[in-house]
Amino acid sequence: MAAAQSSRDFVIDAGASASADVVQAMADAPSLDGGLAWANGGPVRVSGRAWLDTFDWRLYRAGLTLEQVTGRDRAELVLTGREGDVLAVARLAVSRKPRWPSLVSALPPGPLRELIEPVAGVRALSPVARATSRVSELRGLNDDAKTVARLAVDRMSVTYPARASAPARLMLTPVRGYSGVTDRVGRAIAGVPGVSPFRGSALDAALAAVGQRAGERPGKAASVRLSPAMPAGTAMAAILTGLLDALEANVPGTVRDVDTEFLHDLRIAVRWTRSALKLCGDALPGGLAREYRPEFGWLGDLTTPTRDLDVYLLGFAGMAAGLVGASESELTPFRDYLVRSRAREHRRLARGLRSARFARLTAGWRESLDDVRPARKRLTVAQLADERIRAAQRKALRAGQLITVASPPERLHDLRKRCKELRYLVEMFGSLHDPAQHWQAVRELKALQNCLGEFQDAEVQRTEMRLFAGQMLADRSAPATTLLAMGEIAADLARRQRAARNEFGSRFADFASPASQARLTELARTAAA
């Protein structure tokens, strides 16, 4: 497909009475081949526009823009690249447009879906903005009445995420082989008072009209910008408020079950919060951490069963593809069982997230964090980070050194928890560290955690598999062939667990190496400096 001719865009600033001046400037602009006349390019085209992306802007961050354009008798999805070049188009039946939010699998099969699938992954697509565009076109004609430039005027009314009128956008598009004309017209338009160049996309314009920007990522637990001299209590309150924002941003998507990542991100925010309370809660005013730790424990437990089942279902195709003796279809009753269980657990989770207890927890927690004032005992956040990272580092090292070939799985699980705590601390206080050292330390920690995670996940899944098999037998939903196929998966899990166990020695040795440990110590020292 041909790349679009790149257009030169302008906006007529709201309030400026520049439209008439623009028309005059265009008429006066170039004297090329005997002059340029402007003709109406046809009737005004009205279209409904919805820009789609994942909650965490995966398409936008990958330089892609997906737009659903709906006209009177047609609807289509248009995927464009960074320069506005059209990468793929998919026609939609007006009567059978996807209902948003939808997973990528709801898009019509074809090149557009193939381009989006690897980027969006398991995340659903939802409208990030909606608008109605009224576009009128003018054609610049030379003395042969040949079109040598096109100017589209887009008057856009934004309807979501808020209502607003976007400033009129002028899009000057060159006709191939006549770019000189466009240059001249462009210069003339740019000189009109009240007109300014616009370098964004229509999505950027729609969001700008409602005071927002594309790519802002709510719902991700991320390190808050801290300064080393900040009082520890104030810093912890800032970190925990950020985590509460992330948690709350993921609640509606989790309750509506838009995609599995909402719950995943919600759980990350809860885990970080629990670790922060456990490891640094004493920096908060007296009793606050002690009061809220059980409540966040409850919230964590509430979310676990659904997430566990999500993990099963997300990895199901991979598990089924690994079958050697059994066939994939024999696993269908198992999959149906997981889907039923997941639906039941999700209902329970949604009830919990809509409960008065949850509302009390989040409201009370926010109020308490807002009330945190610097303590009289002036511990800085840098000192706190230094102290706690060192302690967590020592604990992780000790837990790992105690592990021998004969150690039970619980020992590895314990080390995994210590490593998680260490990593959360490193990430939470990340803005205090040297970025290069920070990412290297996180990478090394991740390598060990992945190995421990693989070991533990296989252990849990194997245990659960026995439980599922027992329950399926009890409610007579499992034929013998399904149980045999499940046995094969359990055997594969055992193999994966053994492999992770064998890998553990070298992974831990890397983590315990002087270079790696020195890096962590150095991080702590940077924090304290």
Binding site: A2, Q5, D73, D144, K146, R176, G177
Partner: protein, 261 residues
């Protein structure tokens, strides 16, 4: 990318009208289309209101000192570009003669455009020359407009035999009757008998219509200024046959405003 060449040894049989209308209809269907006006008379360029001038002339293009890409102009129609004629094209035979593998030269000049265009139409001058040979080697479908006379059918036979002698790539010959005058008995008789007997014939015939002649007044394809006319309908039908012959896949986003039968 599929290459369609509108070709006949004779002049005045409707080659340009065919290339102009079919390229326009292909673009309306959502394909990215290039029309190369190879005729130094520049009729196709005139119809699209584009000056018949190419920087560096035919020499620059054939020798490769000027890129084909830089010479392309956008028409007034979405998805349709034109590589204009140039008066120096009258010497293309001599230039090709001096080039290496002249019969493959046109194909190699068009090869870099593969990523950009779905279809290329070549509007050829009436002749049998090295240029026509290069066109025949480059084309996937050879659109041959014929006036329904015994002699033009004989010419078609010679052309088919010549193309059949090629080693490797051979264009699919799609002949069709053009400028059919229903009032002439010979026209009607030949137009009815021949297509049924030969695979190379399209079932579509293009009528002799004053609207087609008026293209030079409107300076636009008849399918654009009189989309509901019999002539436009015939070109749409011919385009459907040509597209099927070429095995061109359905365009990504056909224009829903295009006239439907």
């Amino acid at each position: 990318m599929k290459i369609f060449a509108s070709y006949n040894i004779k002049g005045g049989v409707g080659k340009t009208a065919t290339a102009v209308n079919l390229s326009y209809l292909a673009a309306r269907d959502g394909y990215q289309v290039l029309l190369w006006d190879l005729d130094p008379q520049g009729a196709a360029s005139y119809l699209f209101r584009i000056k018949p001038r190419v920087k560096g002339g035919g020499k620059g293009l054939i020798k490769g000192t000027k890129s084909v890409d830089a010479a392309i102009k956008g028409t007034d129609f979405d998805g349709l570009d034109l590589l204009p004629a140039d008066f120096t094209y009258r010497n293309l035979d001599l230039l090709l003669d001096a080039a290496k593998r002249p019969e493959r030269r046109l194909a190699s000049l068009l090869a870099p455009l593969k990523a950009e265009y779905d279809a290329v139409f070549l509007d050829c001058p009436p002749s049998i020359s090295l240029l026509s040979e290069s066109v025949l080697h480059a084309a996937d479908v050879l659109l041959v407009p014929l006036i329904p006379t015994t002699l033009s059918v004989r010419t078609l036979d010679q052309l088919t035999e010549f193309v059949g002698s090629f080693n490797g790539h051979r264009p699919d010959v799609l002949a069709f009757f053009s400028m059919i005058d229903r009032r002439k008995r010979l026209h009607t008789q030949i137009a009815q008998e021949l297509p049924a007997a030969r695979r190379s014939f399209a079932t579509t015939v293009i009528p002799s219509a004053s609207l087609i002649e008026q293209m030079s007044v409107h300076r636009a394809p008849v399918a654009a200024f009189a989309p509901r006319s019999q002539a436009a309908r015939s070109y749409r039908e011919l385009w459907r046959e040509a597209r099927e012959r070429a095995g061109l896949e359905q365009a990504v986003s056909p224009d829903p405003d295009s006239v439907r039968e």
